[in-house]
C-alpha cells in the first residue's frame, strides 16, 4: 500500500512536470507531436527506473558509507550520462527499430532535470530500494502522462487560431498552467 501511494503521489498528486517543474524543457520541446511524445515518455520512464536503481546503489553503497554525500551531484550526473549512453549503445546493437523509436530520444534525457531530480529526491527522502524503484516508475509515468496530454492538446491547437505571439511555448505554458489547476484536484490524497 505504501508503495502504491508512492506511485500515485509521483504520478498524479506531485506530478513532476506540473507541480515540481522538473523536465519542463523536453516537456515544451517534444510535446508537439503525439508519436514523439509517447516514445519520449517511454524512454524517460525506462531511464528513470534505471536511474532510481543505480543511484540508490551508488548512494547507499558508496557515498553514504564513505561520507561522500557532497559528491552526490557530480557522481549522479556522471552515472546518468553513462547509463543513458550505455542504454543507447545496447538498444542500437540489439534492435534497430527500437532504437529508431526510443533510442534517438536518449540524448535528450541526459539533460532532463527530471532524472537528476528523481535521483536527488529519492536520496533526500531516504527511500529504500523498492520504494526508489516505484518512485522512479511513478515519476516516469507522471511525466509520460503530462507529455502525452500536452501533445494531444498541441496537435489539436495546431488547428486552432491561437494569436501569433502566443503560439508555441507561451500557449504550452498556459495549457500547462490550466492542467496544473486540474491536477490540484488530486491534492491532499497522500
Amino acid at each position: 500500500m505504501e508503495l502504491f501511494l508512492i506511485f500515485i503521489s509521483a504520478a498524479l498528486v506531485n506530478n513532476f512536470v506540473l507541480s515540481y517543474f522538473l523536465g519542463i524543457c523536453p516537456f515544451i520541446g517534444v510535446s508537439n507531436k503525439l508519436s514523439s511524445a509517447i516514445s519520449m515518455g517511454m524512454a524517460t520512464t525506462f531511464v528513470m527506473a534505471l536511474t532510481a536503481i543505480v543511484s540508490w546503489l551508488l548512494y547507499n553503497l558508496i557515498l553514504i558509507p564513505y561520507h561522500l554525500d557532497f559528491l552526490q551531484i557530480p557522481s549522479f550526473i556522471l552515472v546518468i550520462a553513462a547509463l543513458v549512453q550505455f542504454v543507447e549503445m545496447v538498444i542500437k546493437k540489439v534492435s534497430q527499430p527500437l532504437y529508431r523509436a526510443l533510442g534517438i530520444f536518449l540524448p535528450l534525457i541526459t539533460t532532463n532535470c527530471a532524472i537528476l531530480g528523481l535521483a536527488l529526491l529519492a536520496s533526500m527522502r531516504s527511500y529504500n530500494f523498492m520504494e526508489s524503484v516505484i518512485f522512479g516508475v511513478g515519476a516516469g509515468a507522471g511525466f509520460t502522462l503530462a507529455l502525452i496530454i500536452m501533445a494531444g492538446i498541441r496537435e489539436e491547437l495546431d488547428l486552432a487560431d491561437v494569436p501569433k505571439p502566443f503560439q508555441g511555448a507561451p500557449i504550452t505554458l498556459i495549457v500547462a498552467g490550466i492542467l496544473a489547476l486540474a491536477f490540484m484536484g488530486f491534492a491532499g490524497m497522500i
Binding site: 498528486v13 506531485n14 557532497f70 559528491l71 557530480p74 556522471l78 491534492a187 491532499g188 497522500i190
Partner: protein
C-alpha cells in the same frame, strides 16, 4: 592512442572534480553541521522559552530532547514528530512539560502545505493555540466555533485538513512519548 586520450581526459577531470570538491567540503562541512545544530537548538528553545540546555535522549525511535532551565533543573521534553499533511510531510517540534500533561508550545519545522492556506499553520493565531494546551485525553479540532475546552483547537478556515493533520501529529507524538515514559525510557 586516441582511446587513451579520451579516457585520460575524463578521468583527469573526474579526479580534479573529486579532489576540489573534497577540499571545499572540508571547509564547508563543519559549518553546515553547526548550522543544522543551531537550528534544532533554536527550535527547542522556542518551545521551551525558559530552556537553557538540552540533552538528547537516545534509542527512542525519534528525536526527543530533555530540556533544562538556567538552574539546570528539567523543564520538560521536546520531541520532533512527523506525519502526513495535506500535500506532504509535516515535521513538528512539540514542547511538553515534565509530566507530559501540558504542551508548552509547538514549532513547525518542515511542511509543504498549500501556500497562503495550509501554511497558516505556521502563523501565530493557529500556532499559539497550542500554548498551554492540555493534550489529555487527546486534542480535538473544532470548526466555526471558539474552543471552549482546554483540549480544543480551532481549525483554520479553508484549511481544515492541514489543521487536522497538525492535531493528529501532535496527538500521535504525545501518545508515543507517554508510552516511552511508562516504559521508563525517558530517564
Amino acid at each position: 592512442m586516441k582511446v587513451t586520450h579520451i579516457i585520460a581526459t575524463l578521468t583527469l577531470i573526474g579526479i580534479i572534480a573529486g579532489g576540489s570538491l573534497s577540499l571545499v567540503n572540508n571547509w564547508a562541512a563543519p559549518k553546515i553541521a553547526l548550522n543544522q545544530k543551531a537550528e534544532t537548538e533554536r527550535a527547542i528553545f522556542l518551545v521551551h522559552l525558559d530552556g537553557k540546555r538540552y540533552e538528547e535522549i537516545k534509542n527512542t525511535g525519534f528525536e526527543v530532547y530533555k530540556v533544562f532551565n538556567q538552574a539546570d533543573s528539567s523543564v520538560g521534553y521536546s520531541l520532533v514528530y512527523a506525519g502526513n499533511g495535506f500535500q506532504g510531510k509535516i515535521k513538528i517540534m512539540i514542547g511538553l512539560t515534565e509530566d507530559l500533561n501540558k504542551i508548552t508550545s509547538i514549532e513547525i519545522l518542515e511542511q509543504s502545505e498549500t501556500p497562503g492556506l495550509g501554511t497558516k499553520i505556521l502563523e501565530a493565531p493557529y500556532k499559539n493555540q497550542y500554548k498551554e494546551l492540555t493534550p489529555t485525553p487527546s486534542i480535538k479540532l473544532v470548526k466555526g466555533v471558539e474552543p471552549s475546552n482546554p483540549n480544543e483547537v480551532k481549525a483554520i478556515t479553508g484549511a481544515t485538513i492541514s489543521s487536522r493533520s497538525v492535531v493528529a501529529i501532535v496527538n500521535e507524538g504525545v501518545k508515543r512519548l507517554k508510552e516511552l515514559q511508562i516504559k521508563g525510557a525517558l530517564k
